[in-house]
Structures are given as structure tokens and as C-alpha cells.
């Protein structure tokens, strides 16, 4: 069998190289934590790439699913006695089910109903997490049990710091998430999603069940957001309702748009830029909302394809 470098393989190779080689440049152990945070965001943004980049649907409440994933890892081990890894799966299942129930009636409608409905959904989840103090600890947040895998690895002789462990763990998760999204892109389902994005009426005439396909994309992207929330909770060992907040939803969309919303590699790129900025520029932290809005506007006006695709195009243009 001959090896052909398909776009999918190339993207995965670049990702693996990024994950493996980046630590060489880390000035301190602290950057493992930043890297892990980038990966956590990149997983959620990969879900947005599927929903918005492939299928052309907008969600303004995906942080709600991240909240479900996060709090599943905080609550299920304590109240249900589940291992944190199973709590992650439980969170993903609940998110998928809720996405199905919320999306099913809405995705039959045309237009921007999904954006509005998900906005409401995100706010609802955020309110529940804030108000159900007895269960969730309210706005002060809640502790999340240890995953326990690092201790297991230590016993096996693989001595990693906490930051290192989560860097590699989330790095593998990002690559896995990207692999799934790239598989989907070239698959019959991914093609149908991109087709209905291009022309809904033409998609329907070739037999694509538009509402069902959109629903599938919505459910899959909700699972990505949920897993991202779970990983965030597990690595911080503490979680607040901010994870489900509106700003987090907007952050996900902005990262996707910045990276070029149809591109999996762009998702990681967008997540990296917007996760690093506040670390590098401390002023950014105070004006985060302002900067997010500004980034979104500037990208839309000057680089509608997203930052990464625009850069790649320019580089290729010079080669020719």
C-alpha cells in the first residue's frame, strides 16, 4: 500500500508534532498548564467546527454543555459513587440527550432559531448551576474529585507533574477529537452536513434529511463541549458556574471563527491564540469581553475565512 499524504493525515501529523514538540519551548512547568487549557478549549472548538463549520448552524449556548460535563465530574462521583472517568461519560450522555431534546423541535425550523434557543438553553443551565446551591455550591463553585490516573502512572514508574500529566492527557484527547472530526469531514454524514450548509434546498432534493442531519451535528458538537468541560473540571479539581456562562459560549465561537470555522487545525489555532493572550497580556484579562468582540468583528470584516486559512493561502500564494 502506498502512503498518500491526504489533508486528514497532514492535519493529524501537524497536530501530533505540535503536541509533542511544544514542551521544548516551555520556559517553565507552568506552561504545561497553559497548554492543557489550550487543548481543553480546542476540544470544544472542534465541536463548533462540526456544528458551524460543517453544518453552518450557530450555537450561542454551548457552554451549557460544558457546564453539564464539568458538574457531572463534580457531582456524580460524590452522589452516585461513579468513578470520575465514568462521570465524564455520564456527562457526555446527558449532554447528548439534552442536545437531542432541545435540537429536535428547533432544527426543523429554518433560520436563526437555533442561535436564540441555545442562547436560552445556556443561560438556563448557568442559572441552575448558580442557584442550586445545595447541590452545586452556587457561584462559589465546587470541588472535583481526582481522576486518579496520574497516581496510577506514578505507581507504574511514570513520574509526571500534575501539569505534565494533564498536558499529555488533554493533548491525546485533542488529537482523538480532531481525528473523529476529520473522519466525519470526508464521510457521507460530513458531506451531507457541508452540502446542506451550501444549499439547503439542493440538499433536500438529493434526499438529505436536513433536520436530522443538523440534529446529529448538534448532538455530536454538544458531546465535544461536554468532554471539554469535564476535562477542565478534572484538571482544575474545582469548578464554578462560569464554565457554563454566556462568555464561555462566545469564547468558543470566537476561537472557531478566528481559526477559520471549517478547519480542525484552525480550531486548535484559534483556541491557542485566545487562551494565550490573557496569559501574555494581563490587561487582556480585564478587557476580555471587549477584546473578544473586537477580534470577532475584525476577523469577520478582514479575514472572513479565519486567520489560519488566510495565512496559509498567503503562504501558498507566494510559493506559486
Amino acid at each position: 500500500m502506498t502512503m498518500k499524504l491526504t489533508p486528514k493525515t497532514a492535519t493529524l501529523l501537524v497536530l501530533v508534532a505540535l503536541v509533542v514538540l511544544s514542551p521544548v519551548l516551555f520556559p517553565s512547568g507552568y506552561y504545561y498548564r497553559v497548554g492543557a487549557l489550550i487543548f481543553v478549549n480546542a476540544i470544544a472548538v472542534t465541536g463548533i467546527v462540526i456544528l458551524t463549520g460543517y453544518a453552518g448552524q450557530i450555537s450561542l449556548g454551548h457552554a451549557g454543555f460544558a457546564g453539564i460535563g464539568a458538574y457531572a465530574c463534580a457531582l456524580a462521583p460524590v452522589h452516585l459513587g461513579l468513578h470520575p472517568s465514568l462521570a465524564l461519560l455520564l456527562g457526555a450522555s446527558v449532554s447528548a440527550l439534552l442536545a437531542f431534546l432541545v435540537g429536535r423541535p428547533i432544527l426543523r425550523l429554518k433560520g436563526y432559531y437555533l442561535g436564540v434557543a441555545t442562547l436560552g438553553f445556556g443561560i438556563l443551565i448557568s442559572m441552575v448551576l448558580n442557584n442550586e446551591r445545595q447541590l452545586t455550591g452556587g457561584p462559589d463553585g465546587i470541588e472535583v474529585p481526582e481522576l486518579g490516573l496520574r497516581a496510577l502512572l506514578n505507581d507504574m514508574g511514570l513520574d509526571l507533574t500534575n501539569g505534565q500529566f494533564w498536558y499529555w492527557f488533554c493533548g491525546i484527547a485533542v488529537i482523538l477529537g480532531a481525528w473523529l472530526a476529520l473522519n466525519l469531514h470526508g464521510s457521507p454524514t460530513g458531506r451531507a452536513l457541508r452540502a446542506l450548509h451550501g444549499s439547503e434546498v439542493a440538499a433536500r432534493t438529493v434526499g438529505i434529511h436536513v433536520a436530522r442531519m443538523k440534529l446529529q451535528a448538534f448532538v455530536v458538537s454538544a458531546v465535544y463541549a461536554s468532554v471539554s468541560g469535564s476535562l477542565l473540571a478534572l484538571q482544575n479539581k474545582f469548578i464554578t458556574p462560569d464554565v457554563a456562562g454566556f462568555m464561555h459560549s462566545i469564547e468558543m465561537v470566537t476561537m472557531a471563527v478566528l481559526g477559520g470555522v471549517g478547519s480542525v487545525l484552525g480550531a486548535v489555532f484559534g483556541a491557542a491564540v485566545l487562551t494565550l493572550l490573557p496569559q501574555v497580556l494581563t490587561v487582556f484579562a480585564e478587557y476580555e469581553q471587549l477584546v473578544l468582540g473586537l477580534v470577532m468583528m475584525l476577523v469577520m470584516i478582514f479575514l472572513p475565512q479565519g486567520l489560519l486559512p488566510s495565512i496559509l493561502r498567503r503562504v501558498r500564494g507566494k510559493d506559486e
Binding site: 473522519n183 466525519l184 464521510s187 457521507p188 454524514t189 452540502a195 444549499s199 439542493a202 438529493v206
Partner: protein
């Protein structure tokens, strides 16, 4: 011979304005039936009702023996109805090949989980669809443009791509809305041959077309609409002699009639 498609008293109004009223005709397998009429006669509206894009206000659409009035397009596709559009509906940012593969959706679709995991079954389905799509692209003369982004193709090429995508469904009936509009003489002739060939293979073809020469040359049966009503029906020779038809064309748009003669 039993009709493949029967349109019975079909009508629709938009805001009190009758766009199409009481139109009936049948389409036979292996035959080319054309719908003609001056601009605004309701041809595309009729198409949109038959293909499930509009809900008819009155009347029935019968496909084979089944009443499919107002049925959603994706369900009609499963029953063997396929169409193209007057204003191109191409998946612009996908490649030419992928546009054609999309036409095989019903054949290649499968569980989303298999597609996410890239299971062999999913790849096999996609590969089969791709082989079928390549064959169709060769048939419409677009095989060399397969890897290009569809948005970059010429208008005539996109018209042929739409036909290829519609043929991917292996339709029993194919609705073509002005397939030669905006095409030059050579392209028109190519499309002309293609349509005749498809009809020969037993597919029923329903055609809306402005190019009168083409309509007269390839149609077995012609239905004439004016102001949303059927004013004449018959074979090309009888329709072209029909006084009502001549009046409709001369009365509303003499220039167009002259163009049709030229």
C-alpha cells in the same frame, strides 16, 4: 401506458394572487415532457409544487400509484424524483467531485458513529459513491474538473454538474428547470444530447426551457402555460401551430416569440 407522474388540478396562490391554477397533465416513462410559457407563466412555481418545495393549494401530484402531494423533497428523492434548479443550487465550497457524490447520499448514508470512527463500512460506502460520481462526471464531460472547487466553474459547466448530481439518484423522473439557460450553442447541444440519452434509458423527463428550438427538437409532449393556466397541450408540431399559444407569446412578449423563432 401508465403515467409515471400525474399532475391533477394543481394550483397555488401567493397572497391572494393565483400563481398556478388547475393544471393537469401526465408524464410517461422514457418520454420528454416540456412545460413552456411566457415569463411569469408559473412554470417554476409548478416545478416547486411537484418537487415538494411549495405546498400546493389545491390538486394532487401522483407518482406511480402513490399520492405524493406536498411531500418533502427528501422523501420524494427516495421515491425516485430528482431535479435541477433554474438558479443554480450548487454546493459552492465543495469540489466538483463532492457535489456529484452528494447526489449519492441515499446510497452512501450510514450511522453517524461509523462515519466519526471512519469504520471500513463507512469508507466502503463513500468509495462506492465516489466511483459512481466519477463515472457520472465523465458522462457530462466534467471528469477533468473533478478536484476543482465547484464555485470556480463556468456557468455551463455548473449546469451540467447539477444534471450529474440529479442523475446520481438514479431517478425514475427527472425535473430539469431551464438546463440550457445561459449556455452557449455548443453547451446547449451537449445538454440536449444528454437529456435525450437519459430519456432513452427509460427515465421520465419533465423540462422547463426557454430555448424553443431545443424544446421543439427533443420534446415528445409539450404543456403550455400562460398566467398560471394550461392553455394548450400536445406534440411539438400541434403546439407550435396552436393559435392560443401563438397569441400568448405574441401578446405578452413579441420579442421573446421572435427570439424563439430565430
Amino acid at each position: 401506458m401508465t403515467a409515471l407522474l400525474s399532475v391533477e388540478g394543481l394550483g397555488i396562490s401567493f397572497g391572494g394572487l393565483k400563481a398556478v391554477s388547475d393544471v393537469s397533465f401526465t408524464v410517461q416513462p422514457g418520454e420528454i415532457t416540456s412545460v413552456i410559457g411566457p415569463n411569469g407563466a408559473g412554470k417554476t412555481t409548478l416545478f416547486n409544487m411537484i418537487s415538494g418545495i411549495y405546498q400546493p393549494g389545491s390538486g394532487r401530484v401522483v407518482l406511480g400509484t402513490e399520492d405524493v402531494t406536498g411531500m418533502a423533497p427528501h422523501r420524494l428523492a427516495r421515491r425516485g424524483m430528482s431535479r435541477t434548479f433554474q438558479n443554480l443550487q450548487i454546493f459552492q465550497s465543495m469540489t466538483v467531485l463532492e457535489n456529484a457524490i452528494a447526489g449519492f447520499h441515499l446510497a452512501e448514508r450510514g450511522p453517524v458513529l461509523a462515519d466519526l470512527l471512519g469504520l471500513p463500512a463507512s469508507r466502503r460506502r463513500a468509495a462506492q459513491a465516489q466511483a459512481g460520481a466519477r463515472a457520472l462526471l465523465a458522462r457530462v464531460g466534467l471528469d477533468r474538473a473533478a478536484e476543482r472547487e465547484a464555485g470556480n466553474l463556468s456557468y455551463g459547466a455548473l449546469k451540467r454538474l447539477e444534471i450529474a448530481r440529479a442523475l446520481a439518484l438514479s431517478p425514475k423522473i427527472l425535473l430539469l428547470d431551464e438546463p440550457a439557460a445561459g449556455c452557449n450553442a455548443v453547451e446547449t447541444e451537449e445538454i440536449d444530447h444528454l437529456i435525450a440519452e437519459v430519456a432513452k434509458s427509460g427515465v421520465a423527463i419533465l423540462l422547463v426551457e426557454h430555448d424553443m428550438k431545443m424544446v421543439m427538437r427533443i420534446s415528445n409532449h409539450i404543456v403550455v402555460l400562460d398566467h398560471g393556466e394550461k392553455i394548450a397541450e400536445g406534440d411539438p408540431a400541434s403546439v407550435s401551430r396552436n393559435p392560443a399559444v401563438i397569441a400568448a407569446y405574441l401578446g405578452t412578449d413579441a420579442e421573446e416569440a421572435a427570439h424563439a423563432d430565430g
